[in-house]
Symmetry: C2
């Protein structure tokens, strides 16, 4: 007996995704007040589903909310973003440790090795071509997502996903100008997989923590650079958070 999962999509969900996208890619600038009626008209829906979306995004802390005073797009500074990376480093480190403890099934190992191979190919030229940014981002996200799934801890997955829903913390934003940094980062990937298959939880955790933490450091020190070019944001792969894996 098959269990049917409703494919139904409500307007609220659609509106939520659209709005989240607008916030993350800067279409709606930080600090802007979101008034219900104009927004609803702009989105072509009534206030009801829009309000559901707003409450949801407020619980995700993408919006600030005060009763009777409405919603404001939250402003994220370099310190906020770095703080998020600290947390992400900690949780993904945990994920990596758990994954090493649990072991890596063959099919996942194959996926991870494919990620490594693709990264090697992209970086083999010795320089960063702009057109390679998007595939590298996608590869990077696949790699990290696979490890998070391996942790087998649903809360890890949930929290990491929440950190990804913070502007500039998402794996979609990668500073693509320093070959050496990217090279090193991908080298981390190699060592992380090695630690995973060797069932070395402590090493796997340490590597992942530093891997993510350094990304946060680097982003903080180059924060003006990434803020300046929101046009660099390429087509996001669908940000819907509910996607089961």
């Amino acid at each position: 007996m098959a269990v049917y999962v409703s494919m139904m999509r409500t307007r609220s969900q659609d509106v939520t995704e659209i709005l989240r996208g607008w916030i993350l890619d800067g279409t709606v600038p930080a600090g802007e007040r979101l008034e219900e009626v104009p927004l609803a008209e702009r989105l072509g829906v009534s206030r009801t589903p829009l309000r559901a979306a707003l409450t949801l995004l407020a619980t995700e802390r993408l919006l600030d909310y005060q009763p009777k005073r409405g919603y404001v797009v939250r402003r994220f500074g370099a310190d906020d973003v770095f703080a998020a990376y600290e947390v992400r480093a900690s949780i993904e480190g945990l994920a990596c440790r758990l994954a090493a403890t649990n072991g890596v099934p063959d099919d996942v190992a194959a996926t991870l090795r494919a990620c490594l191979a693709e990264g090697d190919r992209i970086l083999s030229g010795g320089a960063l071509a702009p057109g390679d940014l998007q595939p590298y981002q996608a590869m990077n996200e696949r790699f990290h997502d696979a490890i998070i799934s391996l942790s087998g801890n649903p809360w890890v997955e949930r929290f990491v996903r929440q950190t990804h829903a913070i502007p500039f913390v998402s794996g979609r934003v990668i500073l693509w100008h320093d070959y050496g940094v990217i090279r090193r980062s991908h080298d981390d990937h190699h060592r992380i997989l090695a630690a995973l298959v060797a069932r070395d939880p402590a090493r796997a955790e340490d590597l992942m923590r530093e891997h993510v933490y350094f990304a946060g450091l680097f982003l903080r020190d180059n924060f003006d650079r990434v803020q300046a070019k929101p046009g660099e944001e390429p087509a996001r792969s669908d940000p819907q958070e509910e996607r089961p894996r």
Copy 2:
């Protein structure tokens, strides 16, 4: 010109808190379907604020939601709860490390020392009196909250708060039957504060991680005990549980 912070409380917020309480303390049993109209009548409000509360609790993952099929109180098993403790241990460990790095202001140190003193007093008798559970819980929460605030990392605060909003993970639930375990746990508190004032980040992190992690282990191994506590018969394994609706 004074800046007024609206003290306004909306019905949605009230309903959210009430419902969250009902879920956390078992008034609404896990697995139960929450129908909007009956619930709204029971709460004395219309469907609108209730629906806002439901969407919020669903984003907190306290409820499962499927479009057109409504909300169901999520069921948390021992493994879910333990997994939450793993994450909480990691994040509170981070919080403790950051707090040790930042240093402890005198007023906070005084608060923490007061917590230690109260715990010492409660435990001085050499046994656990039922009437002492509530003050000990409150003290425990104050202690942990103070350290989390010291971290200065807003995301840490947010995520830890989220783990506290999981049934059985909340600091409100403490197994109060084994004097030795509580005694040791409070001894951890002493050492943690010592590490904080000594500005020893590594030791502070390790202590807090183990402190929380062991609480998770202990809770998992005594899970039936805490589940039976709300006065309900332990959730009988319901063979029809899988039936969608």
